[in-house]
Structures are given as structure tokens and as C-alpha cells.
């Protein structure tokens, strides 16, 4: 099967290589700031043959000699059209002009790569403008929370930035920032994502029908591209909100270089500092500081060596920190004592990328990547300035990687991508380092816990997006992935195919199949995503996760404004990893591998999406009906007595309505309403005494809770309305915007956690739900110059 598949693929490629035509290639950018435009349609309006720009704004089209009605279109931009007499290879780079009033956009001819036309399934792109217009919590626009509003994506618990795509776990999402994996996307336990929307240019989510260029995760790819910086003029923007402020500066350096730097920080700890000083003084302390903050910085610089060659360097640094520091002089012995305790976690990612157009038809992208996620918690004690004791628990993951990708455009009917990459991972799955002074003047140092693990992950892929006649378009590819850990070598072939059949000009049917391997696992202790969750690799004991996903769907373009799509999916997952019942981060003294259970999962569902893309009123209505189960029944690794149980984020019904409305030039508003079946949780209501033999050493006389199964209870349904208004005003120096948002506008008490509690007077037990956020108004001031 695989051999036949490969032969066909190679045959197709060699056939294409024999064609001899002329090529038009170049970049499509924004005329105002020089930002690349990803996914812009570039086509011959006479024949409707065309392509879309790649992630770097590059396109290449090869046609027979003759007249070409060369057309470039992109939502939100005026269409560019010119007649080209094609008698030689040409380089045409186009700068598109944004339209102020979106409704004025007239798309001439038919788009070549709309939802109807594309062979890709499960792909959704949300314009950053839409994300910025959505009402937000604490005034901070959040990409992940916007993604959660799409069908097939569950949000997890109230307010969290977790993503659960088509019944998959949070570790099954490949989240890429400029092509570099980001391992922890949460600030403040998930109430905010680490992505600063001011620095982001493009967001693309793939839920199924994965192209072969992506690999390493089972459930989704979230590909986020950072802005490149305004290449035309110096520009700045910023915002001051209730808990955080941010500032972005960008501009050109000379003719061929541009940069962007964007920073964000919370300042609750700074505001509290004067009060802490007063409190410390009252207690007689020299200093006493307790607080929390997060900050992140995105920076990118790019340089154009020539029309064919560009270099990019982008980096992200983010950190969350809780801290507790105090210092005092003892009245008893006169010594100065100081203690510092803290808990921090953060990511660093960097990418150095070189784009080179080897020929008019062959585009290459060579990338070196670095990604680190680290969690650390610890304390230090000092006496008279010398350290007495230090204790640190840390865990994390560090990656060095390199990859080379090629885009080959032999003719308008074929887009071929191929490449390879390697990542060297270093896992630190939890260790405790300590040092302390002993009374005799000596000191002890040491580390115990889990040793670092080093692994290699390789990927090699080829895919072709091609047409068969005028009705069928197919994206077929093959990925080979491999993983080396200790002395174990895993590898596997991952066939991917996605196809569309054009039923009418505005209606297409689609189908896809994808096989994915995943060599990395997230061990989560808590019901909510905590930074203490451990990233661990597949090992000789833990075989790699594997998923197969089948999708069928249809896209119908109702008119230029509206598009309706539906997709059904069925996904099987093997070798899913969870902590064994009762194990977790608290079992530090044991090897993590002995605490882990392997199981299976299934999910299936139907997704419906009605989108309005153009006009003053834009947005979407999404609905998902789905089911997701888990089974852990291996001997000694049983969860829920080895019986099938619902996945924690199994949600039968999920509805989202997202509206963005431009009232006039100065005011726009956004509203979202979400409804979801209550999260599954485990609830016991029956008890019985534990066995207590007379040689029992536990000393238990307690009652056991008789749980029917894991996740046997559904919390009340979740629903919430958020509304936001933006008031813009042109000033001499630029534009200012006051943004007013109301989160949970009708004050729905959505369940976050449920618990039995006894009435202190009667002893009667009642079931209570705890909610996190009641109605939450917020205000932020934004500026742009």
C-alpha cells in the first residue's frame, strides 16, 4: 500500500518536471507596512488557475506562453489586476492596499482558494483584526480564547487558555510560534495565553486532514506567525489595561531591514508595593514582598539581502512568577535574616530563518530553532548575607532543532512541498536540588528525582496539492517520523490525504485521512492545567501515541459574504498517557515512568460553521456535537476499574456565536455567546467503611467513596455572553482607542469546581459549585502612532 503510494507520488513529480513553461513569482505584501500577506490568492482570472502565497508571502505560478490576467486578491485589501504578456519568467511582487471599508471590497472573478476550492479540511484562519475586536477578560486580547470559539475546540475550565481539539488532550496540539514549538501557552494558570496579540500577524488552526509538513502531535496544529515589523515607517502601539500594559515598537532600519519589539507586563505587584512597605514596617521587617507578575517580550528582525534572499530572527521570552521575600534583623541574636521563596515558569523560543528562492519555481526555507520551557520553585535562606540553605524543584524541556522546507510550484495545478527536520530534546521530568550548611561548617549539596532524558526526533515529508480535472483537488503526502530515546528507536510512516470534489461552483464535498505519531506526552496532575504538568518523552516503556482521523465534510458558499461548512470526524487514539490513579507530581520520589498508565481514546462528532466574512457585520456561528471516551485497561494500569469512561472535556453540545460589528468610523463592537454541555467530573455520593485489619499500618478508619466510574457526573451547562465596545478617535499623534468589555454580561454562575459540604449546624451535606468569574467589566486604553 505504502510502496504503491510512494511510486504514484514520485511518478507524478517526475511527470511535472518535464513540463516547460514561463513562471511568474514574487511576494505579496501590505503597501502600508510591508508585512507579508499569507494565503493571498494569486491567479489568472481568465482561466481561474492559481495558488496562494505561502507563510512568507511568496508565490509562484507557471503558465504557458501568452496573455495572463494576473490577479491578486485578499480579504480586506483591494484586488490587484494586470494583464501580463508572458514570454519569459517574470518577478512580480505586489503591494496590496488595505480597504478602509471592508464592504467596499469587490472580488473580481472567483477566488481560487476559498473554502470551497481548497483541498484542505479542518483549517480555519482567524484574522487578527477579528481577534482584537472580541470582548476580553481584563482587557487582554487572547488568541487562544478566540480559537476556543471555533467548532471542534473545547475550552476546558472557566477562563482557561487550554485547548482540547476534537477530543484530544492539551499535549496533542502542536503550537508553533514562527515555526518553533511552544510548550506552555499559559500565563496565570491559563487565564491568559502567552501570545501578545500586538505582535502576531497570522493565526491558522488545523484540526484534521493534516498536511504532511506537520507532525509530532495528534490533534491539531496552531501555526502562529509573528509580524515582521513595519518596513515603511516607524510605528508604535500600546495599551494600558486593568492588570497589564503593553507596548509595541516597529520600523525600518535602512532600506532592507525591519524590526518589531513588543512587551507586556502585569503590574498588580507594583501597585501593591506601597501597601506592602507599610505592612512590613508595622511588623518590624526590613522588607516583606509578596506578589505575582507575568511579562513577555516578542522581538523580530528581518533583513532582505535580495529579492530572492531574506533572513529572519524572531524570539519570545515569557515568564510568570510568584514570589515571597522577607528580611529582618533578629532582636534575639542581632543577625540579619533573609529568605526568598518563589515559583516561576516560562518559555523562551527563538528562530533563525533563511528564505531563499532557489529558482522562480523553487522556494526554500531553512530554520534553526530553540525552545525552552522551565518550571522552578524553591527557596533560599540567608544569614548575614551568606546562604544557609537552598532548595529548588525544577522540570522542563529544552529543544534545539533544524529544518529545511521546500515549496515547488511546477505549474498552477501542482504545489509540491517537501523537507526534513531534526529536533534534539532534553527533558527534565522533575528533580529536586538542594544545598545546606551543616553546623560543623561543611555543606551538603545534591540532586534527586528524575534524571534528564535526551532524545532525537526526525521528520521527513513530501506532499503534493494537485488538481485532477476541474472538479477534483487532492493533497496527498507522506511523512516519515522517527524518535530515538535511550537505546530504543521508533519510526513510522504517516500517510496523509485530503481531497475535495466540486459539486457546483459554490459547493464542494471533502474527505480526508491522516495518521499521526506523537513522541511527547504531558503528564497532568491537576484537573486544571498547571505549570507543574510534566513534559516527558516516549520511552522503551511508553510507546508513542498514535492517532488516525477520518473526516468528511462539505463547504457551501452562500454568497460573497456567507459561507457554510460542515465536517464530521472520527478519531482513534492509541497509547494515550495519564498518571495512574493516585499518582502525580506529589509522587516525586518515584520514577515517573512507573506512575504512568497507557490507554486508548475515541472521539467522533459533527461540526457546523456559518461564517460571514465581509461587510460591517462579520463573525460566525459554530455548533459541535461530539463524544469522546477513554479506556485504560492494561493490567496494573487500570483507570476507572478498566472500564471505558468519558474524557474530562467530552462535551456533547458546544455552541458559539461571534459577532463583530462596525457601527461607524469611530465605534465598533464585538459580542460572543458560548454554550457548552457541562464538563464531566467524578462525583461520589455513596460511602462505605475501609477494611481495617488489626495489623493494618495505615491507621485508616475512614470511609471509602464508592465512585461508579470516572467522570460519572456532568456539571451544569456552561454559557456566557461577553460584549465589548471600541471607541476610536484620530488624534494629531495617531489613534487612540478606549475599549470597554463586559465578560459574563448576564452574570451566569458557571461551574468551575463542585464539592460536597456539610452544613455547620445540621451536618446535612449539600453539593456546591464554585464559579470563578461573575460579571467582569474591564477598560483599557490603546494607542497607535
Amino acid at each position: 500500500m505504502i510502496r504503491t503510494y510512494l511510486s504514484l507520488l514520485l511518478l507524478g513529480i517526475s511527470f511535472l518536471l518535464s513540463a516547460q513553461k514561463y513562471t511568474i513569482s514574487g511576494y505579496i505584501t501590505d503597501i502600508e507596512n510591508g508585512e507579508k500577506l499569507i494565503g493571498a490568492n494569486v491567479y489568472n482570472a481568465s482561466t481561474l488557475q492559481g495558488t496562494t502565497t505561502n507563510n512568507y508571502g511568496f508565490y509562484s505560478l507557471t503558465f504557458p506562453k501568452g496573455k495572463v490576467l494576473f490577479t491578486v486578491s485578499f480579504v480586506g485589501y483591494a484586488t490587484y489586476q494586470v494583464e501580463v504578456d508572458l514570454n519569459a519568467n517574470k518577478n512580480i511582487s505586489v503591494e496590496l492596499k488595505p480597504t478602509i471599508e471592508i464592504q467596499e471590497v469587490v472580488v473580481e472573478g472567483r477566488k481560487t482558494e476559498g473554502g470551497v476550492e481548497s483541498s484542505q479540511m479542518g483549517l480555519i484562519e482567524i484574522p487578527m483584526k477579528t481577534i482584537s475586536n472580541l470582548p476580553v477578560l481584563f482587557g487582554e486580547a487572547d488568541i487562544i480564547k478566540a480559537i476556543q470559539l471555533l467548532p471542534g475546540v473545547q475550552s476546558g475550565s472557566e477562563g482557561m487558555s487550554g485547548m482540547y481539539v476534537r477530543g484530544g488532550g492539551p499535549d496533542q496540539n502542536l503550537i508553533l510560534l514562527d515555526g518553533v514549538p511552544v510548550y506552555n501557552v499559559n500565563h496565570l494558570f491559563g487565564f491568559f495565553s502567552v501570545f501578545n496579540s500586538d505582535a502576531i500577524q497570522n493565526v491558522k488552526l488545523i484540526k484534521g486532514g493534516f498536511p504532511a509538513q506537520y507532525g509530532g502531535r495528534l490533534s491539531s496544529v496552531l501555526d502562529i506567525s509573528m509580524k515582521e515589523g513595519n518596513a515603511k515607517k516607524f510605528q508604535g502601539s500600546g495599551a494600558v489595561g486593568i492588570i497589564a500594559a503593553r507596548l509595541t515598537l516597529e520600523g525600518p532600519i535602512g532600506e532592507n531591514t525591519s524590526y518589531i519589539v513588543s512587551g507586556r507586563r502585569t503590574y498588580v505587584d507594583v501597585l501593591m508595593y506601597p501597601f506592602e512597605l507599610l505592612y512590613a514596617k508595622e511588623l518590624g521587617y526590613k522588607t516583606m514582598r509578596t506578589g505575582y507578575f507575568f511579562h513577555d517580550v516578542n522581538a523580530k528582525v528581518n533583513h532582505k539581502f535580495s529579492d530572492r534572499s531574506r533572513l529572519y530572527f524572531s524570539t519570545y521570552l515569557g515568564k510568570d512568577k510568584f514570589y515571597m521575600n522577607e528580611a529582618y534583623q533578629s532582636d534575639y541574636d542581632g543577625n540579619n535574616y533573609k529568605s526568598k521563596a518563589g515559583f516561576w515558569w516560562g518559555n523562551i523560543t527563538s528562530a533563525l530563518r533563511w528564505n531563499y528562492a532557489i529558482s522562480d519555481q523553487l522556494f526554500s526555507n531553512t530554520t534553526a530553532t530553540f525552545s525552552r520551557y522551565r518550571l522552578s520553585t524553591g527557596m533560599e535562606n540567608y544569614t548575614n548575607g551568606s546562604k544557609d540553605m537552598a532548595l529548588e524543584y525544577y522540570s522542563g524541556i529544552l529543544d534545539w532543532g533544524g529544518k529545511v522546507d521546500f515549496d515547488y510550484y511546477p505549474n498552477p495545478n501542482h504545489t509540491i512541498k517537501f523537507g526534513f527536520g531534526e529536533t534534539y530534546h532534553t527533558y527534565s521530568p522533575g528533580a529536586l536540588a538542594f544545598s545546606y550548611d551543616i553546623d560543623d561548617g561543611t555543606s551538603e549539596k545534591g540532586t534527586f528525582g528524575n534524571a534528564n532524558l535526551h532524545t532525537h526526533e526526525l521528520g521527513l515529508y513530501a506532499e503534493d496539492d494537485f488538481r485532477i480535472g476541474s472538479l477534483v483537488k487532492v493533497n496527498a503526502g507522506l511523512r516519515w517520523s522517527a524518535f530515538k530515546v535511550r537505546d530504543k528507536f521508533y519510526n513510522g510512516l504517516e500517510p496523509r490525504v485530503s481531497a475535495r470534489f466540486l459539486i457546483t461552483e459554490k459547493w464542494s464535498a471533502k474527505g480526508s485521512y491522516a495518521l499521526m505519531y506523537q513522541y511527547i506526552n504531558l503528564l497532568a496532575t491537576a484537573k486544571i492545567g498547571l505549570p507543574t504538568d510534566l513534559w516527558v518523552p516516549a520511552t522503551d516503556i511508553l510507546t508513542p501515541q498514535k492517532a488516525q482521523q477520518y473526516s468528511l465534510g462539505s463547504v457551501y458558499e452562500i454568497n460573497a459574504d456567507f459561507e457554510f461548512s460542515t465536517e464530521g470526524f472520527y478519531k482513534t487514539m492509541e497509547n494515550l498517557v495519564e498518571y495512574k490513579e493516585g499518582a502525580g507530581i506529589f509522587s516525586l520520589q518515584y520514577d515517573w515512568e512507573s506512575n504512568v498508565a497507557l490507554g486508548k481514546g475515541w472521539s467522533y462528532g459533527l461540526e457546523f460553521l456559518l461564517m460571514k466574512k465581509l461587510g460591517n457585520l462579520t463573525g460566525w456561528v459554530g455548533y459541535t456535537i461530539s463524544k469522546s471516551d477513554r479506556l485504560f485497561n492494561r493490567e496494573g494500569q487500570e483507570i476507572s476499574r478498566g472500564q471505558k469512561f468519558p474524557f474530562t472535556y467530552d462535551r456533547r453540545h458546544d455552541v458559539s456565536i461571534v459577532i463583530s460589528y462596525k457601527l461607524n468610523k469611530n465605534i465598533d463592537m464585538g459580542a460572543t455567546w458560548v454554550f457548552g454541555t457541562g464538563n464531566a467530573t467524578t462525583l461520589g455520593y455513596e460511602f462505605y467503611p475501609a477494611y481495617n485489619p488489626d495489623n493494618n499500618h495505615y491507621g485508616y478508619y475512614s470511609e471509602i467513596t464508592n465512585y461508579e466510574s470516572r467522570n460519572n457526573f456532568r456539571m451544569p451547562a456552561y454559557h456566557r455572553l461577553d460584549i465589548g465596545f471600541n471607541f476610536h478617535k484620530e488624534k494629531k499623534w495617531g489613534t487612540r482607542t478606549w475599549s470597554f468589555s463586559v465578560y459574563n454580561a448576564y452574570n451566569r454562575k458557571n461551574p468551575f469546581f463542585i464539592n460536597w459540604e456539610s452544613d455547620p449546624y445540621t451536618g446535612e451535606k449539600k453539593l456546591y459549585q464554585y464559579s470563578l468569574f461573575p460579571i467582569m467589566p474591564s477598560l483599557s486604553y490603546q494607542f497607535e502612532f
Partner: protein, 311 residues
């Protein structure tokens, strides 16, 4: 400063309003039928005993009595009735004469009027002998604590699933002080349970010093179990240390390793998933476990023979 105070006040207001959202949920019990609870552990070292209760619901008032004293508790061995156990105390049914026997498949049948019949069957296995118990060295841990490393040699029975519970006991003499002027008058022997540790991978993780293990890693093999005993246990009051190896039934093993985790998870239910405890009672809940045991002794060379009187 004024702005800062305003901001701080607003933030506090938001935080306060956020954490105070608590609401009662109307909850109807899925069932009102209580289950028969049967807890029993058959060992060759003790008389047959079965504890019988009814399960309780979260809606029950505190102090409610759930003992079942009107049950008929029958014990069958290899299908034949061994004894109908008399009720001797609150919910406790115990034989006054019969101890369980090795190699017998026992069935408990508990009939409770208006609640039905709960049953469970478990074989009482033959003991697996301890082939040796020796000290092999001294180890120092990260915290500079010294422990005596010991090996307990066993031979697992091949081609069958086996489950074990290892406990260590200390035989000591304690000196009784009567008066300050006449300090040592007598020595009193006593036995105490030893809290030990082990890094041996065969032991079930997460049971903190309670050494349960299965034969997954040692099936059919002769194996030295590695156990660390704190050096202070080998003081001059300790005469010997006894290793007791219980060959236990599968369900009891699973129940025992789940129990401490279950209670941990109940305490940390905000952060941990619930742990479901093994149940092998048909038409009821609880555990029916069996054990047969073998022992070996490690003598302490530091031990000073107890002296009745010291001048």
C-alpha cells in the same frame, strides 16, 4: 498615587467578587438502594471474621449506625459449607473455632433481609517461602542518613500471577525505669512494626513504605528484594528483625495499593482525579482478601542480652 490607590481598590473588588461565587446545586441521588458492605480478610493466622455494614449516602445524617446485625454470613470452602458465622458485635461475624486453610477456595455469602445477597470467592494461596534475609551493607542517602541495606530472597512461583505484601517487625527489649536512684530494674520484650524504605523497582510506587508488590518483573524467578532499614533500628535493644512475606490475593493487593491513594485524592480533590478502590463483592461493595505467610529472621549483632538487674 491617587490613581494607584483607585486601581488597587478596583483590583481588590474584582478579586473579592471573583472568589465569592458559590452556589448550591440541586442534586437527586441516582439511587436510594443501599449496598451491602462486606469486609473480610482470611489468613491462616487468625479466626474467620467478616464485617458487614450497609453503605451510606451523602445525605445521611452524622452518627447514623450502618452496622448490619441481622445478616446470615455463610462461609463455604471449595463449595461446601464450612460455617455460618455468628454475630459477635456491631456488624462483626466471627468464628470461634475455624481458621482458614491453605489451598481452599473460599466463598462468602452474606444474606441481608430486604437487601439481598452479596457474595465473593477467593482462594487462600499457599505461602511462598522466604529463602533468606541478610544485611548486605550500609548506604548513606542525600540527607546523610545511614541505612542498613538488606536482601530478602524469595522464589516466585512461575506461570501464575502472584501478589505479595512484605512487612518487617522488630523484636526489642525496653528497659523499665522505676526510680532515678535505682535506674534499671527490668527489661520488657515488645514487637513493633518497622517503617522501611526501598528503591527496588518491584515494589508498588506510591505506597510510602508499605511494601506491596506483584511478580510482573520477577515472574518465576529467584529474587533478592532490597529493603533499607534505618541504622538506628539496629541499636543494642533490638534482638532481631522479622520479615513477614504474605502471599495475598489479587483483589486484596489492588485494594491495598489503591486505598492510601484514594484517601490522598479525597484530600486533594481540587487537584487530583478520584481514585477508584478495588471491589470484589458481587451485589455489594467491599473487599474479601486472603493471605498465607512465611517468615525469616535477621539477628542483630549489636544486641545486648537483656539483663534483669544492673547494679
Amino acid at each position: 498615587m491617587k490613581t494607584s490607590v483607585k486601581y488597587f481598590s478596583l483590583f481588590c473588588l474584582i478579586i473579592l467578587s471573583s472568589i465569592s461565587c458559590k452556589k448550591e446545586i440541586t442534586y437527586t441521588l441516582p439511587t436510594t438502594e443501599r449496598k451491602i458492605v462486606v469486609n473480610s480478610f482470611f489468613s491462616t493466622e487468625r479466626l474467620m471474621r467478616v464485617d458487614v455494614y450497609s453503605s451510606s449516602f451523602v445525605t445521611d445524617k452524622n452518627g447514623t449506625n450502618f452496622y448490619l446485625n441481622n445478616a446470615t454470613v455463610s462461609v463455604y470452602g471449595n463449595g461446601s459449607l464450612v460455617e455460618v458465622l455468628p454475630n459477635i458485635a456491631d456488624g462483626t461475624y466471627q468464628s470461634s473455632v475455624s481458621s482458614p486453610q491453605q489451598g481452599v477456595n473460599y466463598t462468602l455469602e452474606v444474606v441481608v433481609p430486604n437487601m439481598g445477597t452479596a457474595t465473593s470467592s477467593v482462594p487462600l494461596l499457599y505461602p511462598v517461602p522466604v529463602l533468606g534475609f541478610d544485611s548486605v551493607g550500609v548506604v548513606t542517602d542525600e540527607w546523610n542518613q545511614k541505612s542498613i541495606k538488606t536482601h530478602i530472597k524469595i522464589k516466585d512461583n512461575p506461570d501464575e500471577e502472584n501478589y505479595y505484601h512484605l512487612t518487617l517487625w522488630k523484636y526489642s527489649y525496653n528497659y523499665s525505669y522505676d526510680e532515678m536512684e535505682n535506674p534499671i530494674l527490668d527489661s520488657i520484650p515488645y514487637t513493633s512494626y518497622l517503617y522501611v524504605t526501598s528503591n527496588d523497582p518491584v515494589f508498588e510506587a506510591g505506597t510510602d513504605g508499605i511494601l506491596f508488590f506483584s511478580d510482573v518483573l520477577i515472574n518465576g524467578k529467584e529474587y533478592d528484594l532490597e529493603v533499607l532499614i534505618n541504622e538506628y533500628e539496629f541499636d543494642n535493644h533490638t534482638s532481631c528483625i522479622l520479615a513477614v512475606l504474605e502471599h495475598i490475593s489479587r483483589d486484596y493487593y489492588r485494594y491495598s495499593v489503591a486505598l492510601p491513594k484514594h484517601f490522598d485524592a479525597e484530600d486533594l480533590n481540587m487537584f487530583m482525579e478520584a481514585v477508584i478502590v478495588q471491589n470484589n463483592i458481587e451485589n455489594g461493595v467491599g473487599i474479601f482478601g486472603t493471605s498465607s505467610q512465611s517468615t525469616d529472621t535477621l539477628y542483630n549483632y549489636n544486641f545486648e542480652n537483656p539483663i534483669q538487674e544492673i547494679k
